[in-house]
Every structure is written in structure tokens, then in C-alpha cells.
């Protein structure tokens, strides 16, 4: 059985398609990543799976249970770590966990043990009786994950798990997420706009842009699809695009700014040849850099923009406006 199975899932906000007939499935025991810029429809997808909002059309099942027809059953086996701060900062860490173990109807005799296990696992045991408002950002996030473990979920949904954390807190959260998969076999669906996070964490990735899944596969597969490495060149003496096309796939060509990005099979070996032919055309090259392909490049290839580009932020704003304007 698949852990998550989505078929032609669509969510409309008035005439705006937040999620545009996507289909994907997540294998049991896997960390599955939805990667894309803000406003791509990742959070909407997670919220549909968690039965917080209803899809306009299409189906989604969690461990074979339909998210529309049997919402309460899906919620009983799912855990959720929202993007925003979701712990009650006016309660202690321990109380935050106690509250959720009660809301998941955990039998009384199991509660204490589960809470202590989660606290120790997330390295919060020594601060459990302090109010959560005194915690650091990383501790709050770990408490949120601990909270989502109170019902021992088969399926855990993490929305931007490391957003706003400093590098060391980020690494700690990543390690704990991976431990969950390795030790308990918990299946996870993670959304992120951080390429590096997706590469570190995920077994499988679906790249989302403007409500659609534009590519999917394992991180290695996706990078292999790129067909090689990227050479970035800066040169201001006229248009180099024709010359560069002879050497590989020209991904970016901005003669006005003098920047070009070229995909070639073996970057180290291609550079001398590229430089030679540019010099033969009397073009002075100011700088060259070589980059092994990353998921960001994969995203660029399929979505036609860099993930952190200004355009994508505008998309995010459009989504939020559409959500706010939505009537009824």
C-alpha cells in the first residue's frame, strides 16, 4: 500500500488554481519532498491531505483512507508540524505535549512514557517544565515535532521544517527527522523551498511550480537528468550565445548583462575548449566558474526561473491575495 496517493488533486480559490490537478504517491517509510517556491501550492497540498481544507476535485488517500470521506480517521494516524509556530507559548513544554496526547486520546497509562520518550528524543527533557515562550527557535521547532509524535503517527507532515532556524539548529532538526525514518519507519511528507534541505532529507522529490508538479524523482535522478555541470561565464564584448551553443545547452543568455550559463557533460574538460573558441572570436572573458549541477538547476530547467527569483515571491503574493479575496 502507498502511504499517500494523490490523483488529479485540484484546489481552486475563486478562479485561481492553487493546486492544479497533481498526482503523486509516497512509498511507506520514505521521506518525500514537495519542493518549490512560496506560492507553488505545497502548503495547500499538505492541508488537503490533513483534511484541513477540501479539494475542489480529485482524490487523496493516506494509507488507503480517503481524506474527504474519512477525515477523522486520517487525522488519527497523521502528525502535523505547520510552518508557523504552533505550540502554545503560555504553556510549558511538558504541558504542550500532555495536551496533544490527550487530544489524540492516548490511553492514560501510555501518556507519561510517550511524553518522556519524545522529550528525551528531541533533547528537551531538562527544560520540559519551563514555559515554551522561553525556548529558542530550534527548541520550539523540536517541541513541535515532539508534539506531532504524540499519537505515534504513521504519516508525518512537515511544512518547511527548518524555516527560520540557524545552521546548527537546522542540522539538528534534519538529523532528528532522518532518525524518525530510520528508527521507526515513519513516512514523512516534507515541503521546502530550500534545495539543500531537499537534497539532504528526501528520498524522493516532486518539484512544484504554480500549482503543478513539473518534475519528480530521487535527487540523484533529477540531477542526472540535467545532463551535466554548469559553466557560468561573464563577458561583455557582444553576444556570445551563438558560439556557446556549439559547446552545450545554453540555459541562461543575457548579453546585456554579459552573463551566460551553459550546461556541459564534463565541466572541467569543456572549459578550455569554450575559452579557446571565445578568444578566437576576439571575445574577452572576464570570469568563468564551474558548478556541479544542483536541484536549483533542475528547478530552473523545469520551471524556467530560479527558485529564489523575485517572480516567485510575486506568485506567493498572488496566491495569498486570491485566498483572501475568495468568497464563500
Amino acid at each position: 500500500m502507498k502511504a499517500v496517493e494523490a490523483m488529479d488533486l485540484t484546489k481552486m480559490y475563486s478562479d485561481f488554481k492553487a493546486v492544479d490537478s497533481i498526482s503523486f504517491d509516497v512509498d511507506e517509510g520514505q521521506i518525500f519532498g514537495l519542493l518549490g517556491p512560496n506560492g507553488a501550492g505545497k502548503t495547500t497540498t499538505i492541508r488537503i491531505a490533513l483534511t484541513l481544507i477540501r479539494p475542489t476535485s480529485g482524490t487523496i488517500k493516506v494509507f488507503g483512507i480517503d481524506c474527504v470521506k474519512s477525515a477523522a480517521s486520517v487525522r488519527q494516524i497523521s502528525g502535523y508540524v505547520p510552518q508557523e509556530v504552533s505550540i502554545d507559548t503560555d504553556l510549558s513544554g511538558y504541558e504542550n505535549l500532555l495536551m496533544y496526547s490527550k487530544l489524540y486520546y492516548t490511553p492514560k497509562e501510555q501518556r507519561g512514557q510517550r511524553i518522556q520518550d519524545a522529550l528525551e528524543y528531541m533533547e528537551l527533557a531538562d527544560r520540559q517544565h519551563d514555559l515554551a515562550k522561553t525556548y529558542s527557535g530550534g527548541m520550539m521547532r523540536r517541541l513541535e515535532i515532539a508534539q506531532a509524535l504524540m499519537n505515534r503517527p504513521r504519516m508525518l507532515f512537515l511544512d518547511e521544517p527548518s524555516i527560520g532556524l540557524d545552521p546548527s539548529a537546522k542540522t539538528a532538526v534534519w538529523n532528528q527527522i532522518m532518525h524518525l525514518r530510520d528508527e521507526f519507519g515513519t513516512t514523512m511528507l516534507v515541503t521546502t523551498h530550500d534545495m539543500h534541505e531537499a537534497e539532504v532529507l528526501c528520498d524522493e522529490i516532486a518539484i512544484m511550480n504554480k500549482g503543478k508538479i513539473v518534475a519528480d524523482g530521487s535527487p540523484t535522478q533529477l540531477k542526472d537528468d540535467m545532463g551535466g555541470d554548469m559553466i557560468s561565464i561573464t563577458a561583455h564584448d557582444g553576444d556570445c550565445s551563438l558560439i556557446l551553443r556549439e559547446h552545450g545547452q545554453l540555459l541562461v543568455s543575457k548579453p546585456d548583462e554579459g552573463t551566460y550559463e551553459l550546461v556541459v557533460a564534463q565541466g572541467e574538460k569543456a572549459i578550455p575548449a569554450v575559452l579557446e573558441s571565445l578568444e578566437a572570436h576576439k571575445i574577452h572573458v572576464e570570469s568563468v566558474s564551474l558548478k556541479k549541477s544542483t536541484l536549483d538547476d533542475v528547478f530552473l530547467k523545469y520551471a524556467g526561473a530560479r527558485i529564489q527569483d523575485g517572480g516567485t515571491w510575486r506568485d506567493a503574493r498572488v496566491t495569498r491575495l486570491a485566498m483572501r479575496k475568495r468568497k464563500g
Binding site: 481544507i53 502535523y80 509556530v85 504552533s86 496533544y100 486520546y105 514555559l131 475568495r326
Partner: protein, 272 residues
């Protein structure tokens, strides 16, 4: 036949499980409201300032002016139950604003991702408002005793008052939770909070007797839940005050039931 019987039992069991889940959710939400109050009760005292002004300034001034005829009671005696119910209403109306606030923070998403039934979440929050209302009322009540207002201290009466306060807290928190999914933003809800509390207060029997109001105001007052809440409190706290307590409680409960139902139906919309 045997198979049929066992099926019936499991059905009944399933129903009982849903019932117990409902109650467990409600009691959990109320329990953690109490825990929050225990961690930090300063808000209750800050919110006590306004009722204190009503009692100390407005109440004492009108008592000495004797502009309002309240029968055999002093005006302060008459006013105290009104200020009590008003302070509970102010606390309760805040729950709609808090709902929007929790939505913005992510707390509400998280809460709604548990198997807890939506109606139990609404009712749990409503009971929480009642619980907080009791503590708020204690502050006002003690203040009234300090300035020597003669009130009934009969334990049975006080238990009755606590019950009325819980109904009031539920009623007005459900009203504001009906409005939260419609207005959706914190700023609007702040405005709405102001826009409903003051009219509810001034069109109720909280500061003047209904029989002295102009005709049109009497009609409005008869549809205002705060009038019934205040009346019930007066009947319990002022020996000799005549009111139909079952009617008062019935009206409060009916309003609560209506608001709670609408809030449950609209609840999903707050996330979208």
C-alpha cells in the same frame, strides 16, 4: 440473528466512543485554559480595571444622584450584577479574536489536525471562556464586597452565579466565534468586538431597569441575552429581587445553542 445483535452492539459502542471523545476534547481544552491562567493571571487583573471604573465612578456617582429608581436596592447593588455579567461578556468576546490570532500563528491548524470533532473544539473553547469568566467575575465580586455592596453570600446562590457565568461565557464566546470565520482578520475582529459589546451592554438591563426604558429599547432588550444573564445574577445576588430564573437560564442556553451551532458550521471557513 447473532450476527445482527453483535452488529448493534458495536454500533452502540462506536457511538459511545464518539460521545466520550467529544467530552474528552472539551475537558482537555478547558483544563489547559486553567493551566494557562495558573501560569499567568495578570490579564484578569488588567481586565478588572474597566469594571472597577463602572463600580467606583459610575456606580457611586449615580448612587448619590439617585437618578435611576431601582426600588428598594441601592443603585450600586443593582449595578454590581450588571457589571459582573458585562465583565464576563468582555472576556468571552475576546475568544473570537483569539481564534483568528491562533489561526495566524498556526495553533488552530494544528488543533484542527487532531481527530477532535469540530463541535467539541467550539464547545471546549466556549467552556474555557466560561472558566476564565468565573475568575474574572471573582475579581469584580471581591471589589464589590470591598466597597461594601450588600450581596448574597449564600453558597448555593454563589454556585448558581458561577453557573450563570459559565453560560454567559459560552454564549458570548460562541457569538464571537460565529463572527470570526466571517471577518477573518484580527483588525476587523477587534473592531467587531467593540462594535458588539457596547451595544449589547447598553441595550441590556445591566445599568438600568427594563421597565424604565423607552418602548423601543425594551423590545431590543428582550432579545438581548445579556439582559437575561444579568437578571438571573440579580435574582441570585440581591435578596428580594424578583425574576424568572428558569426563563433567564433557558434564554441564555438557547442563545448559546444557536451561536454554537452556527460557529461549528462556519468553523471550517476560518482556515480557507
Amino acid at each position: 440473528m447473532a450476527g445482527c445483535a453483535s452488529h448493534e452492539i458495536s454500533d452502540e459502542e462506536a457511538k459511545r466512543m464518539i460521545g466520550s471523545k467529544f467530552l474528552r476534547t472539551v475537558s482537555t481544552l478547558a483544563e489547559f485554559e486553567l493551566r494557562k491562567l495558573r501560569h499567568d493571571s495578570s490579564e484578569i487583573f488588567i481586565r478588572g480595571v474597566q469594571p472597577a471604573l463602572w463600580l467606583l465612578v459610575f456606580g457611586t456617582a449615580l448612587t448619590s444622584i439617585r437618578a435611576i429608581d431601582v426600588g428598594s436596592f441601592t443603585y450600586l447593588q443593582f449595578l454590581t450584577p450588571g457589571v459582573l455579567s458585562q465583565s464576563v461578556m468582555f472576556v468571552a468576546v475576546f475568544y473570537g479574536i483569539m481564534l483568528v490570532w491562533e489561526r495566524d500563528l498556526g495553533l488552530l491548524n494544528k488543533l484542527l489536525s487532531t481527530p477532535a470533532p469540530r463541535s467539541a473544539i467550539v464547545l471546549g473553547k466556549a467552556i474555557s471562556a466560561g472558566v476564565r469568566g468565573i475568575f474574572q467575575a471573582i475579581v469584580v465580586f471581591v471589589l464589590a464586597l470591598i466597597i461594601n455592596v450588600q450581596l448574597s453570600l449564600n453558597p448555593l446562590d454563589l454556585i448558581g452565579v458561577a453557573l450563570v457565568i459559565v453560560i454567559a461565557g459560552m454564549c458570548f464566546s460562541c457569538l464571537s466565534m460565529c463572527l470570526a470565520p466571517i471577518f477573518k482578520s484580527r483588525e476587523k475582529m477587534m473592531g467587531i468586538g467593540q462594535a458588539i459589546t457596547m451595544p449589547l451592554f447598553f441595550t441590556s438591563s445591566a445599568i438600568y431597569p427594563i421597565n424604565q426604558m423607552p418602548g423601543w429599547l425594551q423590545i431590543i432588550s428582550a432579545y438581548n441575552p445579556l439582559s437575561y444573564i444579568t437578571d438571573a445574577m440579580r435574582a441570585l445576588l440581591l435578596p428580594g429581587y424578583v425574576s424568572n430564573i428558569p426563563l433567564d437560564l433557558g434564554a441564555g442556553l438557547l442563545a448559546t445553542a444557536i451561536f454554537a451551532t452556527i460557529a461549528t458550521i462556519l468553523f471550517r471557513r476560518i482556515l480557507e
